[in-house]
């Protein structure tokens, strides 16, 4: 079978970077027929051979936008395990770079970028993201990532302020915090 590019997407703990990692692995006829090498594409390539496309599903005010960006200057954000070997590459995209790319794309598509949009975001905005990576002529399937990094921290704060074992306390804050945690789980599992 052809090379089956696999990606892992996450954020850094501080929510400031979007991480896209190659998890394709090495070709193995039995256990990983879509891996690098073997009868598939070899992983010897240069950074310039890799392209990253991200579709950001976001809101500005109450209006939903689905903005697809092609990350330029990827060389500044990518790390290869070995020079000339792209297997296991890792991209760490700073939030302000992504939001700037989105703003540029919006400027291209719209008469003007909405004023409320912050093109220099300090953290990766909570929302739904899809990523596609292209290595030479092989394109990965889109991978969805529901980013809940910032709101997770807010919920953790809510939980940390309650005493789960206090029977005499006002239970409303506890209920709200547990409910928020429940909703958070739903957000993570959408899609």
């Amino acid at each position: 079978m052809a090379l089956d590019l696999k990606l892992n997407i996450s954020t850094t703990d501080d929510c400031r970077n979007l991480i896209i990692e190659d998890s394709t692995g090495v070709y193995d006829a039995l256990n990983n027929p879509g891996g690098w090498g073997g009868i598939n594409l070899e992983s010897t390539a240069e950074v310039e051979d890799i392209k990253l496309y991200i579709k950001v599903h976001h809101f500005i005010g109450d209006v939903q936008y689905n903005t697809t960006v092609n990350i330029s200057e990827l060389i500044n954000y990518i790390v290869l395990p070995f020079e000339g070997i792209v297997e296991g590459f890792k991209i760490a995209l700073p939030s302000h770079v992504l939001s700037t790319e989105v703003a540029n794309q919006l400027a291209f598509e719209l008469p003007e970028v909405p004023e409320e949009y912050n093109s220099l975001m300090e953290v990766i905005e909570d929302g739904i993201y899809q990523a596609v990576v292209q290595v030479t002529d092989v394109v990965s399937d889109p991978v969805q990532f529901n980013c809940i990094c910032s709101i997770s921290k807010e919920v953790d704060k809510m939980l940390s302020k309650i005493d789960l074992h206090c029977n005499d306390c006002d239970t409303r804050d506890k209920e709200r915090a547990l409910l928020a945690k429940s909703l958070l789980e739903n957000m993570e599992n959408i899609g």
Binding site: M1, A2, Q64, D126, Q144, N186
Partner: protein, 483 residues
């Protein structure tokens, strides 16, 4: 609050579940309502969640030899009628195929229980003594006591639920429906025995009180629909949901041994002068409750019927002096929201509405009138009877609930049943496909393509849900900080 206040003159015993939730402080208002509202009231949600099909496995526990026989009891036939009333909702019901031990059921969805062996010893030893109640002679008591001094005779529903409901390793896997000879709720002021005909539990109350409050529905045979024989001993024609008449495959035997009176009067058996012609609608009503719906208006005490005020039934504490609305925007305010009245009352007046044209709609809602309908000789059901769009959304929202507890996340009862439905209604796997075809299909998955061909997934439905949940959490956080 005495249970009699809840049950006397009601046709439906669901309010007992709400009352119990209120008495036990399960937080219907502060948690449940917030949870469901965060889904239902988001304008972006309705199309998404309601379009996600949900199929519930159902098992009927049919208690025979207590004055009834079942010459042609067919769960699939009954669910055909139920599903007809749920058409367009993306919610449906299917007979369970597998029992809790993993055996294939001889008749899907049917568990026959011999009622002649069932008895319950009630009362505290050492006080007023104990009494043995049998299913055959005393039938079924919806609740134990009418008041502190007067008990309702019969084997209690709780006893049947505890001993005969199905689950797998104590996990919810079925919608359990108990079909019994008669549900008793004590004596009315005029001395007649009161029936509630059917009873059901609210999923959130059952979730919170799982040790004592089981998630089930109970219904009398007579309430399902027409019986097998007419009063002359002829077999009623068995028709489908759109046919003029039908029978539901059961029949009552002559008389109760103890009282020497019919288990259920002929009026309640769907005969040509009877009122029960609703063709599975009481079961539809029952499932509506199990999916989280209340009556459009809820009045616990029955002395004076009133229209509902502005107070939402999902309040933390319910009391006798308030008539509650159901918190669903498109249902109508009606009196007699829990009891059956004859069709004339419903089709000619609605004292809670200023608009005469709304009468038919309010009377035809599945959660309003549940027991009796139609003039003599006419069986009603089907499309003239509806769930509103708001009710459908509310039911779907209840199916999406997950809870976070001190031991981590767990799905709500309904979601638990849906997640594991394949355990008891297994999907038939199509084995006609040659393995080679599967390999061929996979091998073309990731061929090289231009970026223009690397289609991103369509997530139009998912983004608004994500956004709605995000906003709901932000709202909770604001209250958290201000509280």
């Amino acid at each position: 609050m005495a249970n009699a206040d809840i049950l006397s003159r009601h046709s439906c015993g669901f309010n007992l579940s709400l009352q119990k939730g209120s008495d036990e402080n399960v937080g219907m208002g502060s948690i449940y309502n917030t949870f469901i509202e965060s889904i239902v009231n988001n304008p972006d949600y309705p199309g998404t969640i309601s379009s996600n099909p949900k199929v519930f496995p159902v098992v009927f526990h049919v208690f025979i030899n207590g004055g009834v026989e079942i010459p042609d009891f067919d769960p699939e036939y009954i669910l055909e009628h139920v599903n007809y009333n749920f058409l367009g909702s993306h919610i449906s019901f299917e007979t369970a195929k597998i029992d809790p031990d993993g055996n294939i059921l001889a008749t899907p969805g049917l568990n026959i229980v011999d009622g002649s062996t069932i008895s319950e010893v009630r009362g505290e030893v050492g006080s007023n003594g104990t009494t043995t109640h049998t299913y055959v002679e005393d039938m079924v008591a919806v609740t134990e006591n009418l008041s502190d001094a007067r008990e309702v005779p019969g084997v209690t529903l709780n006893y049947l639920y505890t001993n005969y409901r199905w689950s797998i390793d104590n996990n919810e896997r079925y919608l359990n429906v108990f079909v019994v000879n008669r549900l008793r709720a004590g004596s009315l002021i005029d001395g007649r025995d009161s029936s509630v005909y059917m009873s059901a539990e609210h999923p959130y109350v059952a979730e919170q009180l799982s040790e004592t409050h089981k998630f089930n529905c109970a219904i009398e045979f007579a309430t399902l629909g027409n019986c097998y024989y007419d009063k002359y001993g002829n077999i009623f024609t068995k028709g489908g949901p759109t046919d003029a008449v039908t029978n539901f495959g059961y029949d009552y035997l002559a008389s109760n041994i103890k009282t020497n009176s019919p288990y259920n009067s002929y009026l309640f058996r769907g005969g040509d002068t009877g009122f029960f012609r609703q063709r599975g609608r009481s079961l539809v009503h029952c499932f509506g409750h199990m999916l989280g719906l209340t009556h459009p208006s809820t009045q616990l005490r029955e002395l004076e019927k009133e229209c509902a005020g502005d107070t939402n039934v999902f309040s933390d504490t319910l009391n006798n002096n308030t008539v509650y609305k159901d918190n669903i925007s498109d249902t109508e305010n009606v009196k007699f929201g829990e009891i059956g009245v004859d069709y004339n009352a419903w089709y000619t007046t609605n004292e809670c509405s200023d608009d005469d044209n709304t009468v038919f709609t309010s009377a035809s809602n599945h959660m309003t009138i549940s027991q009796r309908e139609g003039p003599p000789g006419v069986e009603l059901g089907g499309p003239s009877t509806i769930f509103t769009a708001g009710q459908v959304l509310w039911m779907h929202a209840n199916c999406e609930v997950e809870f976070y507890g001190e031991s981590g996340f767990h799905p709500g009862i309904l979601k638990e049943i849906l997640i594991h439905s394949n355990d008891v209604i297994p999907t038939i796997i199509n084995t006609d496909i040659e393995p080679c075809e599967l390999i061929q299909a996979r091998s073309t998955k990731n061929t090289a393509k231009e970026i223009g061909g690397a289609d991103f997934k369509i997530v139009d439905d998912e983004v608004p849900i994500f956004r709605g949940l995000l906003n709901a959490i932000k709202k909770l956080k604001e209250h958290h900080q201000n509280g």
